[in-house]
């Protein structure tokens, strides 16, 4: 326990705050998912509905708080933090980019191709 036992003041207040924050974000997500505001569905950004972008951004926001606050990533050294977070983010972005591009390509082939699949 290198980041010492000495300055372990109680974080209970902060923990409950983060819990409330995560709950509020989840509630907002659910409400948006149920009412589905028309302008968020009709507007698209980089070929995805604005509503979906909002969901994804809120999810990453929640993920940040879980990692930083609950998993105490903020207390780790820069080296550990970067080797875990940056590695993950880089590889995940790369994978998502490749697979979604390929998926969209296959969709175009199915749509424009001569193969009938709805029979």
């Amino acid at each position: 326990m290198a980041h010492d036992i000495a300055h372990h003041e109680s974080n209970t207040g902060k923990i409950w705050k983060v819990f409330i924050l995560l709950s509020v974000v989840t509630i907002v997500e659910v409400i948006l998912g149920i009412i589905k505001p028309a302008f968020l569905i009709d507007t698209t950004f980089i070929s995805m509905k604005l509503l979906n972008w909002i969901f994804i951004i809120l999810t990453i926001y929640k993920a940040y708080y879980i990692t930083w606050s609950f998993m105490h990533m903020d207390g780790e050294t820069k080296g550990l933090r970067r080797s875990v977070v940056w590695t993950g983010i880089f590889l995940i972005c790369y994978l998502i980019f490749i697979l979604l591009t390929e998926g969209d390509y296959v969709y175009e082939v199915f749509r424009a191709g001569y193969k009938s699949w709805d029979f």
Binding site: F19, T26, I27, V84, G88, I92, L95, G103, W117
Partner: protein
């Protein structure tokens, strides 16, 4: 962790050994790297789900229509409320876990016991909810037809509300179709469980009731499923339909594309397995806390390590929740 390190008498020198550049114990660092690799595994699954979804972007099932059950509310359309509740349960058990870690830092054994107990209970409730969700998914609700091309056709009335097979079929009591059992055949091959109705019974009921229409998997511009006209419905029913689908399994899926069911079973199953193993590990550490192992050791770092794993499970669920139920 000083006890585990051999003293060489060269500690003051940079290369003298015993240096911890990342300032964490071996166990905690390895837990972080395990979590990283596990996160990549889950990303692989979710990205594969994204691939399949983009591939069938115009015919993917609508999650709100699939997951709309809530305990004790039968027949009420409650999209997402139950998963939202599950999300809360998991986030809350994450909170009790971090409170246990916090109490561990202050060497408060009693509090660690209480909070870990609550965490374990939360984990069990979550796994149970997941099982209930699976049960509903497997059982299905309305039933559907399958075409020669493996496409799903669902029934709706003229208002667009779904209609169940049992409300359509005119059951022919004279024509008893017997399930083939393995004791009767040369090849000892058992037939799958027969659906409750035959295609003929559904066809008979459909042609009687003029209000019924068929709905295809294809999504319209507005993101709803395409509803066929009465003529088109009859044409497809009489020309293309080869079978009845009730519920979902790895091959047939009444909600639409079978891939949706496959990914649902695989990803939520893999996550549920993580939750389950997390609960088991928590129980082991919980017993150790009660026995006073960490009081003797004078630190509660083990609680912190299982805490990391438990939060990771929560972290993954946040993403599964988004990509399966929201987006």
């Amino acid at each position: 962790m000083e006890t585990a390190v051999t003293k060489t008498g060269t500690e003051d020198k940079i290369w003298g050994g015993g240096n911890e550049p990342l300032k964490v114990s071996y166990g905690k660092m390895m837990m972080w790297f395990f979590i990283l690799s596990d996160a990549l595994t889950f990303s692989g699954f979710l990205a594969a789900y994204g691939f399949s979804r983009f591939k069938f972007i115009n015919s993917w099932p609508i999650a709100d229509e699939v997951f709309n059950h809530f305990p004790f509310l039968h027949g009420v359309d409650a999209p997402m409320y139950y998963v939202a509740l599950m999300t809360f349960i998991l986030i809350f058990s994450s909170v009790t876990m971090v409170l246990a870690v916090d109490a561990g830092h202050h060497m408060k054994q009693k509090k660690v016991i209480l909070y870990m107990f609550l965490t374990i209970i939360g984990g069990f409730i979550f796994v149970g909810s997941q099982a209930w969700e699976w049960k509903n998914f497997i059982k299905g609700e309305y039933g559907a037809l399958e075409t020669k091309g493996g496409q799903i056709l669902q029934f709706v009335d003229t208002d667009g509300h779904r209609v169940a097979l049992k409300d359509i079929a005119i059951v022919n009591t004279h024509n008893e179709r017997v399930q083939h059992e393995n004791k009767n055949g040369v090849w000892y091959d058992k037939e799958k469980v027969l659906p409750a109705f035959s295609v003929e019974e559904i066809k008979a009921g459909f042609s009687k009731n003029k209000d019924l229409l068929l709905r295809t998997q294809i999504l319209t511009e507005k993101g709803a499923k395409t509803i066929l006209t009465r003529e088109e419905s009859l044409k497809r029913l009489n020309g293309d339909v080869i079978g009845i689908v009730e519920g979902a399994n790895m091959v047939h899926n009444e909600y639409g594309n079978p891939l949706f069911a496959n990914f649902f079973f695989f990803i939520t199953g893999f996550h549920g397995f993580h939750v389950f193993s997390g609960v088991i590990i928590n129980i082991i550490i919980f017993i150790n806390v009660i026995l006073g192992t960490y009081e003797k050791r004078k630190n509660y770092e083990m609680v912190e390590k299982v805490g990391l794993y438990w939060h990771f499970v929560d972290l993954v669920w946040v993403f599964v929740f988004t990509f399966f139920y929201l987006v």
